[in-house]
């Protein structure tokens, strides 16, 4: 009476599963079910011998259905599908029971775990009987790529895709590319100047025939799927005609708001006009008009000195925002990070004491083209005699962010070196412990130690002002002493945080974020570049804090993913989709309203609903809402789910 020949394979996963679940018992019990003709347990099912065993059984014993009880299907379902296919069986005739993540790793009691594992396997056996072969859908790929974010990792990704001969749309929210790195002075551990290594890349972006750069732009909508995304981008008006502007800066000198607006690029350490060039090496090197501060744009009252000064006649106050639509095969997200706002940790006096600054402000200060022309100065213009650097402000702290921001130890050591290099001051570093993990990093730390920097092991607890002088209060855990060290300047090395708009971006793109708020990768170790949405890749600090080498590496890795899709020319997309039985359909149109993708239309002749399978994504929401039960979702149809429910509860 048995119609099927089912093989059930229970994986020990070393001791990961077998240490808690009695795999032999599960195998024995499941073997008693009529249609189960093979039941085996094995150390590592995903290993070559494990897969070979399954393949041989399929061929020799004529198995037509396979159940694998192992880790999460999110991990190895594709692996085992391939194994089935290798033996000539359709990959969808497989069902996995997740007895690792959902059983052995979360259950203390071994008996309970074994019982639970057995029910999950029973559910899988019941379900798999109703599985049908499904052919994966292959669709052609658009050979263009969209890179969101023009910092170092986005630039790297864009350049690599472009160099391979493919079109890239590079979208940047700011008016220029370069991201945070463009603000840095020297970079650790080699102390190359950031501009020297970044500017050539920025120029390449500007000149590459394959890169279309959109600054002052943001993604507002993403439709489609891997290989075939449609991305809608909003470009804000810049009020400057790019074709005419020569980047001379005459408008900035003429603007009557000159030297009155804190300059973001200098982290507020300098003042700019309302019409301005973001920085001398900016790409694109075009003026910008700040609509929040321009008197003409805000109050319609201005002498329009900029317009008069502009020889190129590039200023155009009638510009409006432009909406662009791009068809791309993949998307690389490289949106970077925000710096922790030190005002949120009031104990450090940031914003209260003029000589307490953050790391990025210090970078601007030491930068030769920065607001102080590279001189380290106090608010009164004099040179400091002693400087404190406090690590981990907003990182490794239960009150703000639990994670380590990774780059701050090294940048703090770099700050110490730069202080020593620029002036005679004594430097005190307050650190929890020193994390100098990269190539050449420990060596750099050793070098700076020899420069006579005082390293105080203990987190700076507070910055106070006593008798007009800053005092850093900390517990020196090496000496076991409470210390108060008077200094002239304090540099707070603040955490790297997810960008303020990370949530919005994640929602627009349909990707997840991890607990710390950064974008979530498919697998933290084995797949740190892809997201759970096919065709959307991550690069740089939007995934987690990282230094420049790692950001560049991930940018290249993301580019490789995009290029791989283009090289194949087609992608497999999930074959799970819904279909309507026109016999049963009553033409009530409820499903039409339920479908977000507008995949369902009413056939005006038959008055029955029809699903466009190419547009359908297989969520199954329509099926759940159909009063006539006329909609079937492949691989998730009612019968399959009901059978599984019956099985797991048995």
């Amino acid at each position: 009476m048995s119609d099927h020949k089912i093989g059930v394979y229970v994986c020990h996963c070393g001791s990961n599963i077998n240490g808690v679940v009695n795999c032999a018992k599960v195998t024995e019990e499941i073997g008693k079910i009529g249609e189960v003709v093979v039941a085996k347990d094995y150390k590592y099912m995903c290993s070559d011998p494990g897969q070979e065993m399954i393949k041989n059984d399929i061929k020799e014993k004529g198995l037509d259905r396979v159940v694998i009880a192992a880790c999460s299907p999110r991990m190895h379902e594709p692996t085992f599908r391939r194994a089935l296919e290798g033996a000539g069986l359709n990959g969808y005739l497989l069902e996995m029971a997740n007895i690792r993540e959902h059983v052995s790793w979360v259950t203390k009691d071994k008996e309970e775990a074994t019982k639970k594992a057995l029910s999950l396997v029973k559910g899988a056996v019941k379900r798999v009987k109703l599985h049908e072969p499904i052919e994966e859908r292959e669709v052609p790929v658009t050979n263009t790529t969209l890179v969101l974010g023009g910092g170092i990792s986005g630039i790297q990704a864009a350049l690599q895709v472009a160099e391979a001969g493919h079109k890239v749309y590079l979208i940047e929210q700011k008016q220029y590319i370069g991201g945070n790195m463009a603000k840095f002075d020297k970079t650790f551990p080699t102390l190359d100047c950031a501009a020297c290594i970044l500017t050539p890349k920025m120029v390449d972006v500007g000149q590459s025939p394959n890169i279309e750069l959109y600054t002052s732009s943001e993604v507002i909508k993403v439709d489609g799927y891997v290989g075939n995304f449609t991305v809608t981008v909003r470009e804000k008006p810049r009020y400057i005609n790019h074709d005419k502007c020569t980047g001379c800066g005459d408008c900035a000198s003429a603007c009557i708001m000159k030297n009155r607006i804190p300059h973001e690029f200098d982290e507020g350490l300098s003042k700019r006009s309302a019409a301005y060039i973001p920085f001398p090496q900016a790409v694109p090197l075009k003026a910008v008009i700040d609509d929040g501060n321009c008197l003409f744009l805000t109050r319609k009252k201005c002498t329009l000195a900029c317009v008069k000064a502009c020889g190129a006649k590039a200023i155009n106050f009638n510009q409006h925002e432009t909406i662009h639509e791009f068809k791309v095969g993949s998307i690389i997200l490289a949106t970077g990070f925000d710096l922790f706002d030190a005002k949120r940790a009031p104990q450090y006096g940031y914003g209260r004491y003029a000589n307490v600054i953050n790391g990025l402000q210090f970078e601007r200060m030491t930068n030769a083209s920065g607001p102080t022309s590279g001189h380290i100065t106090l608010a009164d213009g004099t040179e400091p005699k002693s400087v404190a650097v406090i690590h981990c402000v907003g990182s490794r702290d239960e009150n703000y962010n639990k994670y380590c921001s990774r780059v701050c130890c090294m940048s703090s050591v770099k700050f110490a070196h730069l202080v020593k290099d620029h002036c005679d001051a004594e430097v005190y570093e307050f650190y929890i412990d020193m994390r100098t993990f990269g190539k050449g990093y420990e060596e750099f730390y050793n070098r700076v130690q020899e420069e006579g920097v005082h390293f105080v092991r203990g987190k700076g607890a507070e910055v106070a002002q006593i008798d007009g002088r800053l005092v850093v209060i900390a517990e020196d855990t090496l000496l076991g002493q409470y210390r108060e060290i008077p200094v002239d300047m304090v540099i707070l090395n603040t955490a790297l945080e997810p960008r303020v708009d990370a949530e919005k971006v994640a929602q627009t793109l349909g990707i997840s974020r991890s607990g710390d708020g950064f974008f979530m990768e498919s697998h933290i170790k084995l797949d740190p570049v892809t997201t759970t949405t096919d065709g959307i890749y991550l690069a740089g600090c939007c995934q987690s804090p990282k230094d420049i080498p790692d950001s560049v590496a991930q940018g290249s890795a993301a580019a490789a993913q995009s290029l791989a899709i283009i090289a194949t020319g087609k992608v497999k997309i999930s074959p799970i989709s819904a279909s309507i039985d026109s016999e049963q359909c009553a033409g009530c149109r409820i499903c039409i309203g339920l479908c977000t993708y507008r995949a369902i239309k009413l056939n005006e002749e038959t008055l029955r609903a029809e699903i466009n399978e190419a547009v359908c994504k297989g969520c199954g929401t329509c099926a759940a809402g159909c009063p006539s039960g006329a909609i079937r979702v492949s691989h998730f149809n009612d019968d399959q789910l009901l059978a599984q429910i019956e099985g797991v509860l048995a």
Binding site: W105, G515, I590, Y597, A624, P627, L649
Partner: protein, 168 residues
């Protein structure tokens, strides 16, 4: 007697957030009661009343539905449809004598492994208080099942119609 009662809970989780969240509980080696049996759907919007009723029919003492947080659904707004259906399903369940403790609909993201474990723990505790589910309607449950499922769908559909402009 009821001290030894271990409720059986069916969990229906969406693939993208909640199933991943439950996986994370595993990879983080968090322990929670073994009372739950998880079934995966692609989106919480796939969950129809029939599945829930089936669970009770098959002897579940409780049913947990979990999807991505509103705004995070992999299919844009499948979970919003879930959100609209939930009160209707809950009302129907109470009408056929199933206590509110036995049905829960939650949002668990891919990073909320800990939250998932806590939810299961809480639900087990709550259900232990109301005791095992006895099919109050006996065999009738089977009979009313389809009827109830259909009316739940219709009610949801009516709501849906109100909220969207149908047709082209």
């Amino acid at each position: 007697m009821s001290d030894n009662f271990e409720p059986k809970i069916l969990g229906i989780l969406c693939n993208w957030c909640s199933y991943a969240g439950a996986d994370l509980a595993g990879t983080s080696r968090l322990k929670y009661p073994a009372n739950i049996r998880i079934v995966k759907v692609m989106c919480s919007g796939r969950v129809e009343p029939t599945l829930i009723l089936k669970a009770f029919q098959e002897g579940a003492d409780g049913v947990l539905i979990s999807g991505c947080h509103p705004g995070d659904c992999h299919y844009v707004d499948g979970n919003i449809k879930t959100l609209r259906r939930t009160p209707l399903v809950a009302r129907l369940l109470t009408q056929i004598g199933i206590e509110p403790e036995r049905f829960k609909q939650v949002w668990v993201s891919a990073s909320e492994g800990e939250k998932f474990g806590k939810i299961v723990e809480q639900m087990v505790e709550d259900i232990k208080k109301v005791g095992p589910y006895q099919k109050k309607m006996g065999d009738q449950l089977d009979v009313v099942m389809h009827e109830v499922a259909a009316s739940a769908k219709e009610a949801a559909a009516a709501e849906e119609k109100g909220g969207s402009n149908c047709g082209s």
